[in-house]
Subunit: 337 residues, 3 copies
């Protein structure tokens, strides 16, 4: 019961034992997916999904999660809500959050890419909602973090490599691509993989540095687990000894200027780094590594088809796990399981 | 059972005893919110929500209401429906209403501001739907009325001032603002507060006259209840002796011309009346008055922050009541409670 | 159980006995609409509705169907999904279908008119989804077929003319109109009416030819049932001896050029054929024929008001049947009834 009402903005802010509990429950929920035990936990309850940005996986998996718990997820887009902005009259976040707290059992928020004015802006907004909400706020991906993706990643890795990840190495590598993606998924992966004892190698070209605080937390997690952390700037070297490879495009530190997201400049710059792709030649350098990615994949840029669709790819399992971990999170924070 | 199938377009069209029944049921529903008694009333039933205009509170609260009664509210936007208009081929309201009557247990419609061509147009359209529907039609706010807001207002006022509102004065005052709002909420408040025996003072600058028929009904309600009705054109005087203050912007009588809604001209004109704001100085002239507003609030224009967020503000309670009164209305008109 | 997991892209691809089963179940579902027997078949299950094109009847009836079976239909629009196209990076159909198969019990797809690049393109896309899905894919109307409309048509015709349709003649006639409609509904009607033993006459102006393969299948169905098939190019002659008249506009064979849908040219051309309207004078030539149409109707072009709203019109019954047949299809393919 102690997790009832708790916000989930980043896994790093939750105690390890609480993450353990979510993962255990997720496994049980996966095994007994349509058991009556879980099918009424949110009966007659509403979960608000607040999408500043559109989404594939996230909308589908959260709405399914609510349905499978017996509740209902409302799909809301701020464009149809008269929220106050610098440029226009409308409702304050405080008013919106306080009223939503009267109606719903939980509130999910997604805010990144072109819907934020600078890196960290989305994190500020979601914390503003959390401050005024008396119901749990869950990040459905924002510019800094993506906790449910992180939970799905580690659940999938443990399903394939076993629960003890000591001395297992994950390479989290930047890849070129045409989508100028946010940092949230990779940063969450760094945090949770290091939290669960893996050796973590991060690889990216110079100019694509990640959040310094997240880097620091990851180093600290590794230190506490007596595991290794490495940061490199080479597209190949990191594959050596890897048990898991996670390739993903992300935007550079220059992606925002004067409150604008310079997407086309970012894509153009990124597309120049054609060496930065996960392919079978590089994968052969590892320890028969699993391949993972938070999806949707930009095939041909982030990874070749033969790897993404190959026998060691766990992308669909991880995508499925989004559903199970989200059900677990909702069950304990909103359903009082 | 006698309310089963009944339309709700304006509270004035319902008998007082039927409104009493809704308010009693709303209070019970609020107290026993997730009781099994209410959780299956609309099981397997669909409520269509037809949004000509987007909305914050209304969409959230109606969709929650359906969920909490065990049913489902479908969010529909006419832009994705090929309805016949003067300018384009498409389906008639008659055909749409007759088919929807075969699918759903009720139909909510929202139509105001830029989606109507002149004041009263929305009322005509909603009555056209009602004429051809064999299921109850509920206004989710249209240019003339907003019955569920009125019910939530009076429920909130009675929660704080007691059930007997004799000799209790409400000031319903125009306020400046940047949103050029419809008359529906204030007109419904006038009607229901006078129906429940309150003294009603309406204040607005000249040029912001309300619907003459609604004014006449309000006067008649007051007469029958031996209560007072006053219309004034001063931003301060009405606060004297007030037990409840309701400040809200609304558009002028010149808001539509040649079937167009002149929003920017309305906003510009309204923003000149800077005296017309509810603030603590004016509130001090009343009898420690409650502050209410149908939300979302245009803070800094319609009311100052200290009043809106002050100890006498009941805005969040009233917003919550939207859910409860809507559940009650749906339960009796669609669920045969 | 043998229909569990089966795709429904065109009724012609299902065995006659399986269509019989759907129609028998639909009748039972209509009679005992809110019986507990059906109200939990999809409990906690999600049906994805993938709307490349907006829709009236289809969205309402599929979402109602899921609700009435105790499940939930998610309304998804590809515009909010980063799907790969020739012009932009994004997710492949394979990845989308494989992940959706992990979340949902079924997938409905609608794709026609301006969302396809040429006639037959929608059929290719839906079969690509079906190929990669491990859950049943149901057409919610695509450029070639509209199986649930066909099932609703034949259910309605049999309700009014009896189950044995031997020697009953249906006239399926092109009509002028301002909407440049797809061929799917009329082609499905030809197939299912000939399958159920009716004499079929198709009438259209030259230049409005239908799919040759569908014509061939229809001829073959008639041959097997020893019924008559006629193709004519006159706006009146087909009414003689008709027991059912189905008038509907559809686009010409020149509607697409260089991957574009030339809607305005199509409308302009079609609107010239003012003789091609179903009216009471023509209806008088038949055997007191029923009038049907898949709706929404373009009144005044496709049919006159007195016929569409007359005593022999079964349009609302057929529209209602959409709900029942879709519940039946979902119950057996997704709910394991």
């Amino acid at each position: 019961m102690e997790l009832f009402g708790k916000h989930l903005i980043c896994t790093q802010e939750w105690a390890k034992k609480d993450l353990d509990r979510i993962l255990e429950l997720s496994a049980r929920i996966k095994k007994f997916r349509f058991s009556d035990h879980f099918g009424n936990l949110l009966k007659n309850r509403t979960f608000f999904m607040f999408f500043y940005n559109p989404s594939v996986r996230t909308r589908q998996s959260f709405e399914c999660a609510a349905t499978e718990l017996g509740g209902h997820a409302q799909f809301l887009e701020p464009k149809s809500m008269r929220l106050k902005t610098k440029k226009s009259a409308g409702e304050t976040v405080e008013d919106a959050a306080k009223v939503m707290s009267r109606y719903a059992c939980g509130l999910g928020i997604r805010m990144l890419e072109d819907k934020v004015a600078y890196y960290g802006h989305g994190d500020e907004v979601i914390r503003e909602y959390a401050k005024h909400s008396t119901i749990p706020v869950v990040s459905m991906a924002h510019d800094r973090f993506h906790p449910c993706q992180g939970l799905a990643d580690i659940m999938g890795i443990r399903e394939h490599l076993g629960e003890n990840l000591k001395k297992k190495k994950i390479l989290i590598t930047w890849a070129h691509g045409a989508l100028a993606r946010s940092h949230c998924s990779v940063q969450e992966a760094m945090l949770i993989c290091s939290r669960y004892g893996m050796d973590v190698t991060v690889a990216h070209p110079k100019g694509y540095e990640l959040d310094e605080e997240v880097m620091e937390w990851t180093r600290e997690n590794c230190k506490q687990n007596e595991s290794e952390f490495n940061l490199i700037h080479d597209p190949k070297d990191g594959y050596e000894g890897a048990h898991v490879v996670y390739s993903r495009n992300w935007m550079s530190k220059d992606a925002y200027k004067d409150d604008e997201f310079l997407k086309s400049a970012e894509v153009e710059k990124a597309m120049g780094y054609t060496d930065w792709i996960c392919d079978s030649e590089k994968m052969a350098m590892g320890e028969d590594p699993l391949y993972t990615h938070p999806m949707p994949i930009d095939r041909g840029h982030e990874v070749t088809d033969d790897v993404a669709s190959g026998p060691r790819s766990i992308i669909y399992d991880v995508a499925e796990n989004r559903l199970h971990v989200q059900k677990a999170v909702m069950a304990v924070t909103m359903g009082n399981l």
